[in-house]
């Protein structure tokens, strides 16, 4: 196991270096923008994976944290000067708001069973959407508003590098987080909440921590997203954002961190190409239908997603006995 671990680390490092050099080699604007989008959604999907993949709770309100970050940055850059300092400050403000809100919402709702939690998060997120639509003096509602990004980000390449840096940083932080003792407890909650409770862990506290971490990271993704578009409207708070994060996490592989990144890449690229195919046949305008079907098939047949399935195959080849035991255990758990 140890050697493959090292190899995968080296491969990851090589990919990051390749991505960092990419804008210096190629001057394709489309690709720079597309990759920036992928990185931002990777951050969002990873944060969602902390909830879905590691703690085993389904939230339908993740878009509200994304939207908080987006609005915090957009409003502050618009009202004050568009400088780097304000940009960093606005990210911090967005994260703080998201942290506080996710703490309060989590404390109230995480006691409930999965169904109720899913619905209540949907409702709270709906409240924030309504708030943003109505509070027009601040948000300009559905019309949204444009704002100036800091001077240095006029260069798309600089922004690309910044987002890539954020992605790597968030990945490392979250990897550290899920490998920590605290992260292990979250996995225990996912596997069997009753048993974790009986071992003496106050599972509610751990679930709230997971939801705060996920909310804060989602807010960062939102801030980066707003600056990448230099425009914000209420679409950042809609269910579609949550659905995107959900699709990316499920298709890429839940509970892996790398999975959501790959999922984000697959979905953004496929979206790019499939909507390009719309000229050939109008069905491609409804490209999301393919994802819906792939997603349903993934939930039924590949609940582990791309990364999980690949890992599973590799592991099976190396440790046929271990896998037999683990699948037997799963049978009992059912």
């Amino acid at each position: 196991m140890k050697s493959t671990f090292q190899v995968s680390k080296i491969i990851l490092f090589a990919i990051v270096v390749a991505l960092a050099i990419f804008p210096f080699v190629s001057d394709s604007r489309t690709w720079t923008i597309l990759l920036t989008q992928i990185f931002i959604f990777s951050i969002l999907a990873m944060s969602y994976d902390i909830l879905l993949g590691y703690t085993g709770i389904v939230s339908f309100g993740h878009a509200m944290f994304f939207g908080m970050g987006a609005y915090a940055t957009a409003i502050m850059l618009d009202r004050f000067e568009p400088t780097i300092g304000i940009f960093v400050l606005s990210i911090a403000v967005g994260m703080c708001i998201a942290g506080i809100i996710s703490f309060l919402v989590g404390l109230l709702t995480l006691r409930l069973k999965s169904h109720f939690f899913a619905m209540l998060t949907m409702a709270v997120s709906g409240l924030f959407l309504v708030l943003a639509e109505k509070w027009r003096t601040l948000t300009f509602g559905n019309d949204g508003f444009t704002f100036k990004a800091p001077e240095i980000f006029k260069d798309r390449m600089m922004y690309y590098l910044l987002v890539l840096g954020c992605l790597v940083l968030v990945y490392l932080l979250l990897r550290r987080f899920v490998d920590s003792p605290l992260g292990r407890v979250l996995i225990a909650v996912r596997e069997n909440e009753q048993r974790t409770k009986s071992l003496g862990f106050q599972t509610l506290h751990y679930k709230v921590i997971a939801s705060v971490v996920a909310g804060v990271i989602a807010s960062l993704a939102g801030s980066l997203y707003a600056v990448s578009l230099r425009f914000v409207n209420t679409s950042v708070l809609t269910m579609d954002i949550t659905l995107d994060a959900l699709l990316m996490t499920i298709i890429g592989g839940v509970g892996t961190l790398i999975g959501p990144i790959i999922g984000a890449g697959v979905i953004e690229l496929a979206q790019h190409y499939l909507s390009g195919l719309a000229k050939e046949h109008p069905i491609f305008e409804r490209w999301i239908i393919f994802f819906g079907i792939v997603y349903i098939l993934a939930v039924i047949f590949f609940p582990k997603g791309i990364v999980g399935t690949v890992k599973h195959l590799f592991w099976k080849r190396k440790n046929p006995i271990k896998i037999a035991i683990s699948s037997k255990r799963k049978g009992i758990a059912k």
Partner: protein
Amino acid sequence: MELLINLLINGLATGMLIFLLAAGLTLIFGLMDVLNFAHGGLFAWGAFSGVWFYGVTNSFTLAILGAILTGVILGFITEKLIITPVYGNHVQQILITLGFMIVLSEMLKVVFGPNQLAAKTPPLLSGSWEIGDVIIIKYRLFIIIIGFIVFGVFQFILKRTKIGLVVRAGVMNKEMVQALGINIKQVFLYVFMAGAGLAALSGVLMAPYSGVIYAEMGMEFAILAFIVVVIGGMGSFPGSLLAAILVGLAGSFMAYYVPALSLAVNMMLMAIVLIFRPQGLFTAKG
């Protein structure tokens, strides 16, 4: 006074539409322990197919029957393809029914086009009565009557027939029902199809009420139906009627008196109920 009566009728009519949607949802949840996030998709399919049938046959009765048929067939497909593989796993159920919701609403756009369609009120039901100063719109009254009829019929089936007995017993303890030699899976399927049919009925009645129909209406109404199911108590049929009327009335009165809060009031109602009485106002037992 006439304002009060108008608001009351508006609220009741909206409440009835939500009730039809929530009734299926609450029975499916109570019996099968499945929260069907695709329910709104069945509702939207009911609305679109109803408008299509009305355009083809020019008969509102046939449109309603056609929509219900569409709903029941879709319900059959949903249960067999989507729900059966993931019985017992809550997280997977939530995920998969939400995925099916996406497919259903995108399929709507493929079949009927991405634009919103206009829905006409049938001539017999359009117009209104004037009693003194009070104007009663016929169609709204029609919805309210249909709602009460459906409630009566289902209440009769649940309380007075064999299948109703099995369903009620299943809500209370499905393992025991199975142990007594009843094929509960078959009952699940029937209840799911009935719930889907009710959702489609709600959709087709909704179409002339709102005037326009669009694919996203499924999700918007499904959220209201979820709220109703939570407030009324999961699995409680009368509870969902009362909660639906409550939500409908709250919506119509708030929209008039405090319009800024009209969209938020239902969510607040649900949040309050969930925090202080998580099992809902009514419980399924008894």
